[in-house]
Structure formats: C-alpha cells, structure tokens
Amino acid sequence: MSEFFSMGGFGVFIWSAMGVAMILMILEVFSLIMKRRVLIKQIKRNNRLNQRQRKNQA
Amino acid sequence: MTSAFWIILKRDLLLALRRRSEIFTVLFFFVVVISLFPLGVGTEEAVLKKIAPGVVWIAALLASTLALDRLFSADYEDGTLEKIVLAPSFLSISVLAKILAHWLLTGLPLVLISPLVGLFYHLPINTILVMMLVLLIGTPVLSMLGAIAAALTLGLRGGGVLVSLLVLPLYIPVLVYGAGAISTSMMQGVSIEPYILLLLAFSLLAMVFSPWVTAVALKISIE
C-alpha cells in the first residue's frame, strides 16, 4: 500500500498534482453552489418585499 | 471623406501643442524607467549591454500604455466623440487619425530620445541605429493595439490599470522581436533582417485591422 502511495519516490509530486487539480475543481463547484444559494435567497427576499408592497398599496 | 482624417489629426496635434506637459510626462516616464534599471541591477557594463534591449522595449510598452487612457476619454467626456461617431465619414478613418496623432505624440518622441538609452547602457553606434529603427517600426503597433483596449475600457472607473492588463499581453510579439533585433545587432555576422520583416508585418496587419476593430469597440462603448 505505502509502496503504491510513494510511487517510486515521486509520490509527493504526483499526489500534490492530483491534489491541486482536485482542490481547484472542488473550490469552483463549491463557490458555484454558494453563489446560487445566496442569489436565490436574495430573490426570495425581494419577491417577499414586492408582495408586501403590493398588498399595502391595495 | 479624408477631410475628417485631417481635421482630427490637426486638432489633436493642436491640442497637444497647447498642453505640452502631457507629451513630456510620457517622455520623462520613459527616461526615468530606463535610468532606474542600472540602479537596481548594478552598473556593470556587460550586464547593462545584455539587458538594454529588453529594458528599452519594456519602458516603451509602459510609457505607451500610460498615455492610452487619455486617447479617447477626453473626447468621450466632452461629447466630441459623439460628434466624431455621427460625422458623415467612416469612423475607422477618424480612429486612424486619432491613433496616428497618439503615435506622433507618444511613440515618435520615444524613438527620438532612445539614443539616450544607448548612452546610459554603453551600446555601440550601430546598435543604437537599429534600436531607433525597430522602435520606429514597433511603436505604431503599440498605439494601434492599445487603441482597441482604450476603446473597450472607455469611461470605466480604474480604466487606466485595466487598459494595461488587457494590452500588455498583446504586446508580447513586438517585445520579443523588437528586443531580439537589438540583441542580434550586437552579435557579429548575424542578420537582423528577419526581425525587421516580422515587425513590419505586424505593423501592417495592425494598421489594417486595428482602426476597424477600435471603431466597433467605440460604438459598443458609447452606447
């Protein structure tokens, strides 16, 4: 097992390359999910405000 | 048709003449940058000779971008740009006039003062001549590519920094071959002709496409 991870002495390089790629990709997806969540919350809040305004006007 | 070209060219030169400080600011910026390098990297003659081609071009790139921000923004702010767009002539011709004026005011002075670099960096006479020649061919490309970026960033907050960010990567070919020609001229028995031809090709290509693209960008930006 450890032999597999050491990759003939190149393990640090190989796994850090894989790690960098994976971290960047996960970060991108994570930021997309967060952005969407925040945005949907904002739109909901706006809609609620609009509805209340319309009710008050009526 | 050509009248708009001459009107704009004459007007820009007249304006610059009335406000000479702007020309000199760019020129002094260039001189300051090239005199900072020896202070930073040491004054050894061999080192200076080696870095001179790169230094002169990088200083020229920076000086040229410095003035780009004002290329269209002054006309944009006072409404003249709308007049130019609505003038009954091709916008790209008017743009070419603006670019030519910009080069005459910021590019040409650099060519003329560049022998000073030769003096500072202990360059031989024929290298100085080559340097002037490649600057003469290369700096118009800087003005022409820069005009596109200036048109795209017209009227934006922090436009000056953005222009540099957009345009500096596009200057790479001029930097590579411009500096390459100067370095090569210091070697024995190597022809600089290929470099000159490539730079000329860039210059021609830029002259054909840049006014047209800049005109499109201006129309997008003033909308």
Binding site: - | S3, R11, R19, G79, I84, V85, L86
Partner: protein, 217 residues
C-alpha cells in the same frame, strides 16, 4: 422626407424604458419629447441618431433603416447632446470651426464669426473656451445650428443654461428651420412657438411604472 419610427423598444439594465413606440415625422414638424427624469428621453434621442441600439423595432429615414444608410443620414442630421463638444484649450472660433468641419461642411472665417455674433458671443470669439461660462459654451455648440444644412435636428435639452436673449434666439432659429421644411425633435421644458408647421408631443411617463418586463425575448 420623413422619419418613421416603428414599434421601438429600449431596455436599460432591468428596466424597460419604452416599448411599442411608433410615430411618423415629416418636414415642417417639430416633436417635443416629454417625461420625467429617467424615463428614457435621452436614450430615445440617441436611438433615433443611431448612437444607441434599440432592443426591438426600427428607425427609418427616407424609407430605409438608419443602419443601412449611415452616410446620407448622418449628413442630414444635426445632433446636440448633453455635452457641448467644446475643448477648453481651443477658442470659441476654433471649436466652432472644427465641429462644423467634422459635420462635413467648411465655412469661411467670416461666416463662423457672424454665427458667433448672432448667437451673442461677440467679443468672445478668440477667448479660450476655458474662460467661457456654461451658457456661453452652450451657445458655441448652438452656433452650429445657424450654419448647418442638416434637415433633421435632434436636440437634447437645448435651452439648458441659456439666458433670456439666447432662449429667444434659439426659439427663432428652430421656428425658422421648421418653416423652411425642416424637422426638429427635442426634449425641453421650454415652449417653442411656431409661426408655421405642426408640433407633436410624446410623453414617456405613461410607458413607465411597469413592474415587470415581458417574459419573451
């Protein structure tokens, strides 16, 4: 000779400024565009000039969309925007000369000086424009109207910053242009009395206050 506007729509940001705007304007007609701030008066004028692109609809001049006949149209158009296109480093005379030349016409120095005198700038012709007041700069820009041969004048708030004398003068100039088979479109709060011709009015206020924009593109 006519300006035809068909079903014009303009959206800025998320707001629809106006839509379904249609009208026909021929010679001897003046159109006043009314509306509160932010209702799209300037956008409408700029769209009519071709400076801005409409989101829908078209503007026709001589039965041809203005996109297709740039040169002819721009030769017959005089546009005055919010800004006066005056360079502070040039004199009033130089400014007027360059602006008229850009519009495609060259005039003798006497003609230019006469126009400046007529608009009330006698004595300031050679002054650097930096020394002119806001109203005087506006007058320099308007002096172009005295000289131009353009048929269609599109003027954005031409009376702003002018004093009583200049307002009267400008009213006369506009009236006589309409009288001479011209067409004028302007935004203003100032009445423009005409001796001849017809005044049309468009109010952009009604098309405002729509809570939502339509769903389909």
């Amino acid at each position: 000779m006519s300006l035809v506007v068909n079903n014009l729509q303009c959206i800025r940001g998320e707001k629809e400024l106006f839509s379904g705007l249609s009208f026909v304007l021929t010679n001897k007609q003046l159109m006043r565009i009314e509306g509160q701030n932010g209702t799209g008066k300037t956008t409408l004028l700029r769209t009519l000039c071709g400076l801005s692109q409409a989101d829908d609809g078209e503007v026709l001049w001589h039965n041809l969309t203005i996109k297709k006949q740039d040169e002819v149209f721009r030769n017959e158009l005089f546009y005055l925007g919010h800004h006066n296109a005056i360079k502070a480093d040039l004199s009033a005379l130089e400014n007027l000369q360059i602006n008229t030349a850009l519009a495609g016409a060259s005039y003798s120095e006497e003609q230019l000086l006469q126009a400046l005198e007529d608009i009330g700038l006698f004595g300031s012709e050679y002054k650097s424009s930096a020394q002119l007041s806001q109203g005087q700069k506006r007058r320099v820009a308007l002096a172009g109207l005295l000289l131009t041969n353009a048929k269609l004048w599109i003027l954005d708030e031409p009376f702003v910053a002018l004093d009583g004398f200049a307002v009267k003068k400008l009213q006369d100039v506009i009236a006589s242009h309409v009288e001479n088979d011209g067409t004028v479109i302007l935004t203003t709060h100032q009445e423009v009395p005409l001796t001849q011709g017809k005044i049309l009015t468009i109010n952009l206020d009604q098309s405002n206050n729509k809570p939502n924009r339509s769903d389909n593109d």
